[in-house]
Amino acid sequence: MESINAGDTAWVLISSALVLMMVPALAFFYGGMVRKKNILSTLNLNFIIICLISIQWVLYGYSLAFGGDFLGLIGGFNFLGLKGVGTAPNPDYAPTIPHLAFAAFQMMFAIITPALITGAFVERVRFKAFLIFSVIWATLVYDPVAHWVWGAGGVFHQLGALDFAGGTVVHVTAGFSALAFATVIGARKGFGTRIFEPHNIPYSVLGAGLLWVGWFGFNGGSALAANGTAVNAFVTTNTAAAAAGIVWMFLSWKDNKPSVLGIVTGAVVGLVAITPAAGFVTPLAAIVIGGVAAPISYYAIRLRQSRNLDESLDVWACHGMGGTWGALATGLFASKAVNSAGADGLFYGNPSQFLIQLLTIGIVIVFAFGMTLLISKLIARVTPLRVSVNEEEVGLDISEHGERAYV
């Protein structure tokens, strides 16, 4: 008979709220980087995702991700409508908090993942097509991948893949889906010939700062208890963000001046990279994980630019590549001395963990990229993915929402 721990439950509820706060934080992080005629649209793409996925999750999303296993690939229908998900703990996931608290915490992850993708198609996506895409994507990409990695009986869960707080489930899926969607929707009008100057970098700094705070819930809460693992995740999270911010500062300084937008982007990339590792590695390892993440994402942005691909806000470079590095680094730096429920990585004498991580990421990348390509192309057959040239020129705030941000 499991008993509910008040401290654990309180921490998971607070962490859930912190993760939800990351969505508007992300909205402002992204919003600062678009042109001022698209700021409301960009904020709204993130905000409406909260509404959409909250409902999706209650109705069937949680069940598909965490319901009774079917062949290791998808959850069953036993938690439809959160039936049977109540105040009693579910020992498969978190033995000391109400099952419903776990479902609520996981809901916030399901929300922020499609929100991350929006950076790929801002300033041109048609709102209607976006709504359809987001619900289908959450159902056909997020829910299955969450089941594979985190669900009881999930195929990579069985294999022993480590993903503490969603480096693979959240960041790799979002990043590579962003890449796929960007290739389908095409570049913004004027991309490559005009300069798309960020219209409000202070918004991005504010957003990145709030993301950092929210990430304590994201990673710290993923211990699902107010315990030593949560504390370890808290400290590694902060450390990796700091290291990546510093390294990005030097990279941008080397190329010109220490860009503020660059420094805060670096911190976010550090947070992404430590996500899968936070509860399994030491603070010193976190410095390496964050510090190496910065040049990976920095030069991934350069590569993306050199290919003339308008993946507008670099979701792939920051989340896809940062998450990939973090998930691989987990296979290098994980240590049972830090977390006995985890595993040893390559540097602790267990090379097979690295291979498990590699296999998991490889399959998730192919699945997320391929499915998103398929979903977006199918939607494009039914309804246009992007607004008309004229509507794009006017800006989505007015053409899609009939509002303007600044008067």
Binding site: I195, S252, D255, N256, K257, S259, L261, G262, Y299
Partner: protein, 136 residues
């Protein structure tokens, strides 16, 4: 004969220019925020990675309408106060003005430009501190 001076200057120099003009008795002016570039061509900014160039920089445009005979003194004052010596200091255009109408009184032409303590009402080469009516 009435002229309009249109001076495009650096935002940073505006307080100095305004003060210098006040001292020679320029009471009325209006200012517009404009963007543009001349020979300077723009500046390089830092992006997330690397740099990008912007060519439209913020400037202020002063509009001053006054009598022909005070134009040169006013232009010299603006040049002296607005100049830093680096590219991007700005430019001054001078136009003839067809007609002036003061809305409050309906006065027209030169009369519409006559303010108490204004450069146009003071004796030529007069030494005036210009602390007059700025509300016009």
């Amino acid at each position: 004969m009435t002229k309009k001076i249109e001076a495009i200057i650096r935002e940073d120099q505006f307080p100095d220019v305004k003060e210098a003009l006040r001292k020679i008795g320029i009471v009325g002016m209006n200012v517009m925020e404009v963007r543009g570039h001349g020979q300077q061509g723009g500046i390089v900014l830092a992006g997330r990675t690397g740099t990008y160039q912007i060519d439209m920089l913020p400037k202020l445009q002063l509009n001053i309408v006054l009598s022909d005979n005070n134009v040169e003194k006013t232009v010299q004052t603006i040049v002296k106060a607005a100049r830093t010596g680096s590219p991007g200091d700005g430019i001054i255009f001078i136009y003839p003005v067809e007609e002036v109408v003061r809305i409050r009184t309906g006065e027209r032409g030169h009369e519409a430009l006559m303010y108490d303590n204004d450069i146009d009402t003071m004796p030529k080469n007069g030494n005036h501190d210009g602390n007059g009516d700025h509300s016009a």
